[in-house]
């Protein structure tokens, strides 16, 4: 069982009368034993969960010194009941910031699909799990669903910031998270792909401009913004708001935009945030003047 596009994936879901996660599972079972696949995914979930929680207890300064402690600030703000986001988004952005803090301080994370975008998928899935009491078995469904979207992005476009900008990293991560959220909250496969398409549309053109060339700033904040984008897109899809442009076409559009982004804005740290005077003063290793 294999598929090469979102359209083929939807056709398989219809033919087999099942969710995207089941199709992705069967595809994986053809390459490795089901027991191994499930155990590996349980380990992914375990690492993800740990990386969302750790900075809330023990904040860590990043290797480059640009971030550290943000997740704890968000949690404290919410504990004082001062948060203006609703609970799902508030928890999710806290977790997204937390995972990037773990990553930037040489902690253990799961690239999803990259290290720089590793916060979005765990943040949204685990925030939903807390708010709606979703059991781990269902979260694993969510991860397989997210994996299907990420696989299509890797196969038919790119997930590398150096090739397609941040829209290809945090953008794709958010598209994955949105699709998984829709499946977990009872949406159809079509609504999953609609949500992914909406995320890519709304994050189209986002550049990759890491200060000092490090996976710290603005990456951490962009993971939080990515979660918000995913949540918006999932809500639109679950409400039945139609998405005009199919996922496959939007993915192709994202890729075409990505390769047209000037090289200064594709992970080279020569433009955008990285080239602001403040950023240049912050980082000793920065090669800009």
């Amino acid at each position: 069982m294999d598929f090469k596009s979102g359209a083929e994936l939807l056709a398989l879901c219809k033919q087999e009368n099942c969710q995207i996660s089941q199709i992705m599972r069967r595809r994986e079972y053809a390459a490795a034993s089901p027991g191994d696949v499930e155990n590996r995914m349980k380990r992914v979930l375990e690492i993800m969960r740990d990386s969302t929680r750790r900075p809330l207890k023990t904040p860590q300064r990043s290797m480059g010194g640009l971030i550290g402690g943000e997740a704890m600030l968000l949690a404290a703000h919410a504990a004082n009941k001062q948060n203006i986001c609703g609970p799902v988004l508030q928890i999710a952005i806290t977790y997204a910031m937390a995972v990037l803090e773990v990553n930037a301080s040489m902690g253990l994370i799961v690239a999803a699909p990259t290290a720089g975008s590793s916060g979005v998928v765990p943040a949204l899935l685990l925030a939903l799990a807390e708010q709606y009491n979703i059991p781990d078995e269902r979260l694993l469904d969510g991860l397989f669903n997210a994996g299907a979207i990420g696989y299509l992005a890797m196969r038919n476009a790119t997930v590398a910031g150096a090739v397609g900008g941040c829209q290809a990293e945090v953008g794709v991560a958010s598209a994955m998270a949105a699709s998984a959220a829709v499946e977990l909250m009872g949406g159809t496969p079509r609504q999953c792909l609609d949500a992914s398409s909406t995320v890519l549309m709304n994050m189209l053109g986002l550049v990759c401009d890491p200060v000092g060339g490090l996976v710290e700033y603005p990456c951490q904040s962009r993971n939080a913004a990515g979660v918000a984008n995913a949540l918006v897109a999932a809500e639109l899809a679950l409400s039945g708001v139609p998405q005009l442009i199919p996922f496959d076409e939007m993915l192709a559009a994202m890729y075409r935009v990505g390769i047209r982004i000037p090289v200064e804005l594709r992970e080279t740290a020569l433009g955008g945030c990285a080239a602001t005077p403040t950023a240049c003063n912050q980082c000793g290793s920065c090669s800009n003047s």
Binding site: M24, V44, G107, L108, V110, A111, A115, E216
Partner: protein, 225 residues
Amino acid sequence: MFPASFISVFDVLGPNMIGPSSSHTAGAAVISGIVRKLIAPPLKRVEFTLYGSFAKTYRGHGTDRALLGGILGFSPDDLRIRDSFSIAQEQGLEFRFIPDETENDLHPNTVDIRMENSAGQVITARGISVGGGKVKIVRINGVEVDFTGEYNTLIVIHQDTPGVVAHITRILSDHNVNIAFMQLFRESKGHTAYSIIESDGVLPGEIPRQLREIPHIHDVMLVQP
């Protein structure tokens, strides 16, 4: 079997890794994890020359700790990578990092690794980190090669002379080894050649021993994932 291009769900949700960068941290650990298998332990000294983006950002990405961690045998998801400097010191392994920002024609994430073991043997290798924790070894002892370390890999260093490759394939066939890829690289005609054989299945440890008995074969290295 699926072609090498099969993208698994764990290529998307993975690798499980010590941050912050799949190319600059995880890939760095993978490169030196492969390269360490090219020389008999124990290692006495290791030197890393970093190029391109590796040279510019290695401290902030922990590329140095990851490279040394890989040499110590730590996988990319092993938290000991963070403490690889002190662990290497405890083991009496000397290490040095040399950033070279003058060389601009290489892949941006390139490292040259020079290893010396306690027997005084020296092996050099060049690795590149191509993204997502995937890597390539592109040079051994100055000879251009090309393998990923994702397969069971046999590296045979031999005289560039007729018949040697036939010996290699005969021994592999005696052990019922199915060859996925086989490539031959050489310094120049008649000099030292490198045969690199990649196989899906595990290569029995007897193979290197038998190969070393063949005339014109100088050395054999086995890199199993």
